[in-house]
Each structure stands twice: as structure tokens, then as C-alpha cells.
Amino acid sequence: MTLQITLQIIYLIASVTFILGLKFLGNPSTARKGNLIAAFGMGIAIFGTIFLYTDAEGNHLKNLPLIFGGLAVGTVVGWLAAKKVQMTAMPEMVSLFNGMGGACAMLISIIEFQHIQSTFVEPTALAALSGRLLIILLGMIIGSISFSGSMIAYGKLSGKVKDKSFGMQQFINIGLLLIILGFAYMAIMGGQNQALWFYLVLALSLLYGVLFVMPIGGADMPVVISLLNSFTGVAAAFGGFLYDNKVMLVGGILVGSAGTLLTIVMCKAMNRSLLNVLIGNFGGGGGAAAASSSAGFEGSIKEVNASDAAILMKYAKKVIIVPGYGLAVAQAQHVVHELETLLESEGVEVKYAIHPVAGRMPGHMNVLLAESNVSYDKLVEMEEVNPEFATTDVVLVVGANDVVNPAAKTDPSSPIYGMPILDVEAAAHVIVNKRSMKAGYAGIENELFYKPKTSMLFGDAKKALNQLVSEIKALG
């Protein structure tokens, strides 16, 4: 009995650390502490369960060597993967870990179902059993959708899976969801084919996760990952319900609700609704339609070489750098910092304009630039920096496209219409570094590139910035 109470107190403490952890994660100065507090809570909850948990008859957990073996394998692999991953590959890593949690919830449900199948149940206990089955099934459905969906999201972000959508996909998805629920009902009702229905639900839920994420464009992946993240939270909470385990319930529901809200906040930053993201398939079909109207822009593309761009920047008073996805891909975050310090030593004021969705995830650009020691106060958020462009001599856009596309303001037919953008046009000169004229995530052309004050500096971001640095140095 004392063991049980001690464990419950440990769970209570762990639940509090989760709440405090999330709270501290919301503030830049306490964020790291928050993460460590939550990790500590997780640690005591895990070891408390291993050593103190007893079932209704007072038996301790068995198979401890296997449990510790599993913990050891997971710790080593997880630690190495998390330590070795490139900062630019962070979003897909988060997606991968999220999928692991979903798979864990799915496996728990499968084992519990097998357990029910193999034990004889008194007819009088059937009602209670159907409640339990419902929880098991819901946990499995959500867990497996989160697992397969996260794997697809991971594949998309790392470039292994391409966007794919076919006609009527939304209707097929809704239909599939209804079939899953129908089969789940059959599985709860029991009978001869209970196992068959159960595994059909499992297979279709995995398929649903794939179809759910497949048509969503790469730019919307952060939103999808955040949503799947809250799914896994809910799946964990079902596990808590199953074992009457309060720390699982608290952790799961907290992430479920906080994650859902975070998803909505992210959508807002892109000025899109969640529904729009889920059924709108941005980068796919919309792109082809918009591309046909691209030829209509006035003006022509003007190219600039590194030495001219270097002169322009060196003799400027104020330069604003707009980093984007291209900078992350080329891993040019260190070079851009070098360029910044070099210009500062020449007496140029340098700032970074950070669009809320720049990079591959909201806030991703800040993480990347922080990695290369860019000072925090140089990173200016969109609302603050927009009025500054008018007094800026040179804007250097590095691998960003949609976030500086004036179509978001001027063209109601554009898929990104209404998205807040950085008003780089207000500056005296705009230098755009891109690898090619290829369209951005949204799959649409950018009128900015055709404007008279815009000049294009083609090439890989890292190479181009390196050239700029050496040209500025050569100017002495």
C-alpha cells in the first residue's frame, strides 16, 4: 500500500513538472530550464513505475531485464540521433520522434487487445469490457494515424517522399474515417470475428495516416507535425485512461490541448485556417494553375554579380538580411553571420528580418541563426521590421521567396493572398539570392524578382555568401 501511495505522489510531482516545464518553455529566458524540469519529471515517473508499480494483487512488474534492455537501446539510439542531427534537419527529427510515440501507443493497444482475447470473460463483465475496448481502439486509431502520418511527414521534409494528391481525395479520406469507425464498432461488439475487425481497424488507420499527410504541401508540414504531435498526446492520454494512470493522462492531455492551440497559432502566423491547410493542398494543384499566369509580369530579371553586390552592401548605411528556407538548406547560417560581422566592422548597420514562418518551422530560423552566434537583438520580427525597410539601403534576401512575394498583398487570386509578408520593396535596393528562378513552396512566381530595384544573385546560398564576404574583404 505504501508503495502505491509513494508512486502516486511521484506521479503527482511528475505531472507538476510537465505543467511547469511547458510554462517555462514559453519564455526565452527560462525555456531551457523548463525542458530539463520536464525531463526530470519524466525520469522519476519512469523509474517510479519500474520499481514501485504493483497490480491489483500486489505483484511487482516482471521482465525487468527486458524493460531495462529496451530503455537502454532506446536511450542510446535516441541520444545519438538527437545529438548528431544537423540543426537544419531538426523538423524531420521532431516528426520522427513523434511517430515513435504514436507507434508506442499503438503497440500498447495491440498487446492489451491480445490480452483481452486470450482471457475468458464472464458475461456479466461484458459491459465494462466494451468500455475498455473502446479506449483501446481509440488509442490505437489515433496512435497509428500519428505514427504513419509522422513517417510521411518525415519523408517529405527529408525529401524522400513527394507531394501526391488525387481527385476526390478529401472524400476518400472522410469515407475511410467512417469505415474505420464502423469497423471499430464491430470490434467492440465482439463475436467470432472480433480479431479480424480489430486488425482491419489497425491497417486502415495506418493507411489513413498516410493519405492524410500525403497531399499536404511541404510548406504546411510544420502545422501537420504540430497537429500529429497533439494526436500522440491524446493517444498517450487514452493509455492513461486504460491503466487509470494519472501522469499519462496529464502529460497526454496537456500536449493534446497545448499542441492543438500551437497548431492554430502557427496557422494564424501564416494567415490560414487549419481547415484550409488540411484540405487546401497548397503546393500541389494550386501551383500549376498559378504558374500559367506568371508570364504577365512587367519588367525583366536583372542579374548582379557578387562584386557589384559587395560594393552596394559595403557602402550602405543599413542592410537588412531576410533569411529563408534556402539558407537553411545550404547551411549558410555561419557564413551569413560572418558577412554580418564584416559589414558591422565597416560601420554598416545590419539586422535580420525574421518572418514567422521563415525556414522550415516557425522559429526555426531563430534556432539556426542562434547556432551561429548571431546576437538575439539583431533578429527582428516581422511587425517590428516592416516600418524599417523604408530607411534601408540594401535588403539581402537569402533563399526566401513566398514570404517576400507582393502577390500576398496585391493578387486576390494568389494562393498566398492575405499572408502577411516582409515589405522589402520599400528599401532602396533588393538583392535576392536564389539558386534558380524556381518557384517557392507555394509554387507561384514572384513579381518582386521583376521589379526594377531588384537584382538577382544566383547560386547556392553558402557559395554566394562566401563570395560576397571575400569580395567585401577585397574592397579593403
Partner: protein, 97 residues
């Protein structure tokens, strides 16, 4: 149905309250912190590992032992990977000061 609700009333209360706590916590987070926050929340739902430990500790069949072991490994990956990745992200925020 009513019996089910009645039996789990305490848990249902907890769920409802935690929904509100979760929403309150995320209220006004600067977009700078969205990625670390998502990653941190990702680590926290790794609490599902507790379920896999319990299932594993009660398993007797070979099939449940294998699946349970896999569940413990995957759950640990979620927890350890999640917290370490988040710490790496936040460590960089700290350096600049």
C-alpha cells in the same frame, strides 16, 4: 454509458481541467519559441512509455513480450530523443547572451 462515466468521473475531471491548463500555458508564446515548444511537448507525450513499461512488466506471452519490448524502445526514443533535441535547440538560444 452512464456507469462508465460514473466510474471514471475523477479522470474525466482531470481531462477537462488539463485541457484548460494546456490552453492557458500556450497563450502568448513568441513565434521564436514555437519550434522548441513543439519539440518539448513532443518529448512530454513520450509519457506513453509508462504504459509500455506496465504492459511489458505484466506480459507472459512471447508475442506480447516482443511487441512490448518494441514499445519500450520506441517510447524511450520519443522521450530521450525529444528532450535531447529540445535541449540542443535551447542551448543555442542561451549562447548568444
Amino acid at each position: 454509458m452512464l456507469a462508465f462515466v460514473n466510474e471514471h468521473l475523477q479522470l474525466i475531471y482531470l481531462i477537462v481541467l488539463m485541457v484548460f491548463v494546456g490552453i492557458e500555458l500556450i497563450g502568448h508564446v513568441p513565434s521564436v519559441l514555437h519550434t522548441p515548444l513543439m519539440s518539448g511537448a513532443n518529448a512530454i507525450h513520450g509519457v506513453v512509455i509508462i504504459g509500455s513499461i506496465i504492459v511489458m512488466g505484466e506480459a507472459t506471452h512471447i508475442a506480447s513480450l516482443i511487441l512490448g519490448f518494441l514499445a519500450v524502445v520506441l517510447g524511450t526514443l520519443n522521450v530521450v530523443g525529444g528532450f535531447v533535441v529540445t535541449d540542443r535547440m535551447l542551448e543555442m538560444f542561451k549562447k548568444r547572451k
